[in-house]
Subunit: 428 residues, 2 copies
């Protein structure tokens, strides 16, 4: 059988089949499993890439029935039961698609060039390069307006990623970078969080949304609710009549499923997700399953399964169980039911919101729960230890360990013209 | 005053002027100081970039007389005493050039595309991506010759960098990756170290050279002495009549100083280094100093100062002292004398060679000295701790913590065609 994608859903499916008499080929276009919930910390120089990613081969080293292949799938031939990988193909009896989703630009795909999204390690390293480069260029900018443009960061979308990103950039500017520059002050950075809905963290209880907004504002973040981005270009963003000049705009809005759904010829929802049967199989192709952010499902209890890591893991484990049962000739498990593990979002140092059913937490205690939960779910003992040490260090020193500008050997001026600072003054 | 370059030499010069009544502008085209001696460990997935690099701003945070500028210098106007940085300029009373050196292709600059050198973090991440990608492609290659080509690594130049790189790749293949693949075995990797001279580690005692060669051979490295590379292209390298098909060739031979020397119109040696006066100033420009790998000097004791980190540091400290003396109106210090701090090179796990004057060490004890020395000289307590923990972990588990392929969002096939594996077989 073949699994495509080694995110939370695909990896869980593979692991659930440990010991089953199946030969699994796990195809991913990257060599590492990524702990996406902490990606924003790599983007803001808090953690290093190695701390939130593990080689897929190492994770599955001891599972003899899995073969890991680094390759990019290009299609599915349902009639012949083959996964297509460029000119080559992999035959399957069962197929599990777990290729995930990205952010949605709602018909403005051209904005992606100016307002990148955050899904991969390379995205995060790009964010880090752009954020740190803007501070560097601002240090030598002599025109106050240009300096302000360089130090303005706009984040579009106030879901957990947008909230965490805005809080982390504000803390980076005000604390970690506070004493490192001579001409600029970290506090002069402007962080704007834009959300089209009327509250942040729409999936949370309104009281927590409100708490998060106030906590962000205490950090100095401007939270703009109920406004949409109407234009986005090299100079910044427009919110209707208002223009915000900004060298850095980051996109954290909407959901757009990966194109794999279209390979199946199955029904897709508006976000491009595959509408799956109660056992997560594809209608008309009972041996093909879709799990994680690529799947659209209302579960047996009538709940819409959200696009979050715990749901992806549960779906992966469930499908692994369905396939194991079929291979063993056992009865199929009952339809999938999502067990809500609660929702967490962090805003900054000792600030988070958490929701577990009726229990709602805010502030330092929520932040502690968030920290422990994220370290717990990180894969690999070494990563857990490294992240725990780093967080304790940062907590005590306010420092950030990963403030490197890499990934772009071009001089700053040619590589990212709009980040280089455009000053008419002669003296450096 | 202006310092260009924040490597060992430039940073030491800046630090030596702490407390002096000078305003220092430190210009570097990267935002981090790099601990180059451990760069090969990033290249071979042993350490993460953050562990061997520190933001220059953070290193000098508490030195109020330094302003750090991220920019690429483009020239020097000696008459006007200005450093040129693109269209802008920085006036100086004293100038310290510390822009370092790269490897030399001896007139075959076109080979750089196929046999990259290792000088920056981006170089190291490129090495890591290429090495790990070759193993990935070999896992799905069906043609034995193609698989062998993918798993052949040629390192040109058996100085410390070449020796350390060859040893580390051999260990990565035979130990860290040993159990991670299904179709290939780590041991089937072929590592070839090519050196034009008749021994490895030419700067060391011949007995240590011989020890290093045998230690490399015990690790499975083919050491080819007294042969030069006559061609280098997509398919591999030629050593005279012999062709070695190899997907990865790495260059660690020769020294070519950075172009900054030519800005001064001063005498350069064959490697492009500036021939400096006994006080490291430039002849005819007593306020301009050259330090580190960019300087060519026979010191007051008649010794040729080698292009190594301790020499660069000593030169930086010395020039800082010269400038401090002039500013204070004190007498100039005596001419520069290089204090040989000894030479160290590691080959692999519990294998190194060390030379301190007449004292020569090999094997496990030399390796321990090497480990302690490198951790000691790493900048920043946190980096020291992180590296020490990582090394202990790797020692116990044989694992490598940084096995991520990043920096290239293109699918492998289009990005590095010669690394993608060219197989005619249909099945993946």
């Amino acid at each position: 059988m073949v699994i495509v994608g080694a995110g939370f859903a695909g990896l869980s499916a593979a692991r659930a089949l440990k010991g089953s008499p199946v030969d699994i080929t796990l195809v991913d276009r990257r060599n590492h499993h990524l702990f996406q919930p902490l990606l924003y910390q790599v983007a803001t120089a808090g953690l290093a890439p190695t701390q939130i990613a593990s080689p897929i081969r190492t994770v599955l080293r001891d599972q003899a029935n899995v073969r890991v292949v680094l390759a990019e799938a290009s299609g599915v031939d349902l009639a012949r039961k083959q996964l297509l990988v460029g000119p080559r193909s992999a035959p399957f009896d069962y197929l599990v698609l777990a290729t995930g989703a990205a952010h949605a630009y709602f018909g403005h795909e051209g904005w992606a060039a100016w307002a990148p999204g955050l899904k991969s390690l390379d995205d995060a390293l790009g964010f880090r390069r752009r954020i740190l480069s803007a501070f560097e260029a601002a240090e030598t900018a002599c025109d106050p307006a240009e300096r302000a443009r360089l130090l303005t960061f706009v984040i579009v979308g106030a879901g957990p990623t947008g909230v965490e990103l805005a809080g982390a950039i504000a803390e980076l500017a005000r604390r970690a970078l506070a004493t490192d520059f001579r001409a600029i002050r970290g506090e002069s950075a402007r962080v704007v969080l834009v959300e089209a809905a009327d509250r942040a963290l729409g999936a949370f209880d309104p009281r927590l949304s409100d708490y998060a907004r106030r906590a962000l504002e205490r950090l100095g973040v401007e939270v703009r609710l109920g406004v949409g981005v109407t234009a986005c270009d090299e100079g910044g963003v427009a919110l209707g009549e208002e223009r915000i000049p900004a060298a850095n705009v980051f996109w954290a809005a909407g959901v757009q499923a990966s194109p794999a759904g279209a390979w199946l010829g199955a029904a897709l929802d508006r976000a491009g997700r595959v509408v799956v049967a109660p056992d997560l199989s594809v209608k008309g192709a009972p041996d093909v399953f879709v799990v994680g952010d690529l799947a659209a499902l209302t579960d047996a209890a009538g709940r819409i399964v959200p696009g979050v890591a715990p749901a992806a893991k549960q779906e992966g484990v469930y499908v692994g169980g369905v396939i194991a049962a079929r291979v063993a000739g056992r009865a199929a498990p009952p339809p999938f039911r999502y067990a809500d593990a609660g929702s967490l979002a962090t805003i900054g140092r000792r600030e988070a919101v958490a929701q577990f059913g009726r229990l709602k937490l805010t502030g330092a205690f929520a932040w502690l729960v968030w920290s422990v939960a994220h370290i717990w779910f990180l894969i690999g003992f070494r990563n857990r230890l490294a992240v725990a040490i780093d967080w304790m260090w940062s907590y005590v020193t306010f420092d950030r360990g990963a403030r490197l500008i890499t990934g772009d050997d071009q001089p700053l001026a040619t590589a990212n013209a709009h980040l280089a600072g455009r000053c008419a003054c002669e003296t450096l």
